[in-house]
């Protein structure tokens, strides 16, 4: 069983296996430039906002995700495990490389 993950910023989708984090599945896209950091919820580079679908949340650094952020679905992709199909936006340091890597025709 796997879930479909939609990156709203680009319209791309990718599959995330049950129990797998959003970041791990995104790493499998093999996209050069996605800033994978510590993969442990500490460094804050893989920040996303989940706009649809539930995720189980592992503990992550309060220095990067405040309670107010959490209420808006913001979290670190390395600590979010989808429980359903998910739509997300990329934030912070993740934004530029994800958007940059999309073919130009795709962004018109």
């Amino acid at each position: 069983m796997s879930f479909q993950i939609l990156i709203e910023d680009t319209g791309e989708t990718y599959a995330c296996a049950e129990g797998e984090t959003l970041l791990k599945a995104m790493e499998r896209l093999g996209r050069k430039g996605i800033p994978v950091g510590c993969r442990g919820g500490g460094c804050g580079v893989c920040k996303v906002q989940v706009t649809q679908g539930d995720c189980q949340r592992r503990r992550m650094s309060r220095a990067h995700v405040t309670l107010a952020d959490e209420a808006q679905g913001i979290g670190l992709a390395c600590c979010l495990i989808p429980q359903a199909d998910v739509a997300l936006r990329v934030l912070g340091q993740l934004r530029e490389p994800v958007l940059r890597a999309v073919p130009r025709a795709f962004t018109v």
């Binding site: 800033p35 950091g37 510590c38 993969r39 442990g40 919820g41 460094c43 650094s61 220095a63």
Partner: protein, 306 residues
Amino acid sequence: MALSAVLRPGHVCLRVLDIEAALKHYRDSLGLIETARDAQGRIYLKGWDELDWFSVVLREADAPGMDYMGFKVLNEAHLARYEAGLKAFGCKVERIPAGELDHCGERVRFDTPTGHFFELYCQKDLFGNGMGRLNPNPWVEGLKGMQAQRFDHCLVYGDDLDGTVKLFREVLEFDLTERVMDGDFMVGAFLCCSNKAHDLALIRHPEKGKFHHASFLLGSWEEVLRAADLISMHDISLDIGPTRHGITRGRTIYFFDPSGNRNEVFSGDYTWYPDHEPITWTTDQLGRAIFFHDRQLNEKFLSVVT
């Protein structure tokens, strides 16, 4: 190996998000030995060849990073001398009572211009390395994981690099072994109180008080490769390596603990003496200075900190 009254890096206190997950990492993967737990729930560990009771303290918190790093000093007289020097330099200095950390005497805690906290102390209980001091064996059996011998050094990031370098050189009598220069502007400094290539490393960074890694010593390049095997076998988040540093010549691999604090295990450097001229690296050669084989700047290694 000490050549000054500051003997060596004695401990590092790390914040972790989940203390049991962290213990599993530091004990079973890195191979440190658990030696105590205190009333606050902090866990104490040491490398197998360290004699004092602990060198790593794990504290559960809601954000990872380094609380402080401690250096052991020869005796009370030098501790008092350094304390006076730190105050004269303008540091915020505080005495932490004996026993606040289990098995550790009174500590002199101070802040630095880069926004980190360090400590000096001169007493810690003896735990031993399991071999005694009379006709000992060369190593102990039954070790786990990477079998780290000792906590060796930290690399920290902060803004006022010149200020912290001045503090460690002038007040604490450290030597500058290597530096990274952008023209006349220092961006990296490697400092030692002993005979090693570094006991503390500093990189200039806009934010104060950041932690890059805590490093642990292994016995050989073969053991660094074995650590790399364990990183895959234990599904640990790999950063980079195994490879070679230009700076310090260390043979190295970097990875992350389950809370995102970076660790290094490494083998080999060179013997430093205070009459040596520091080694200088220029930023146009920074790629090979950091990773001598790749010769490429690695954005993640440079920018990911806790």
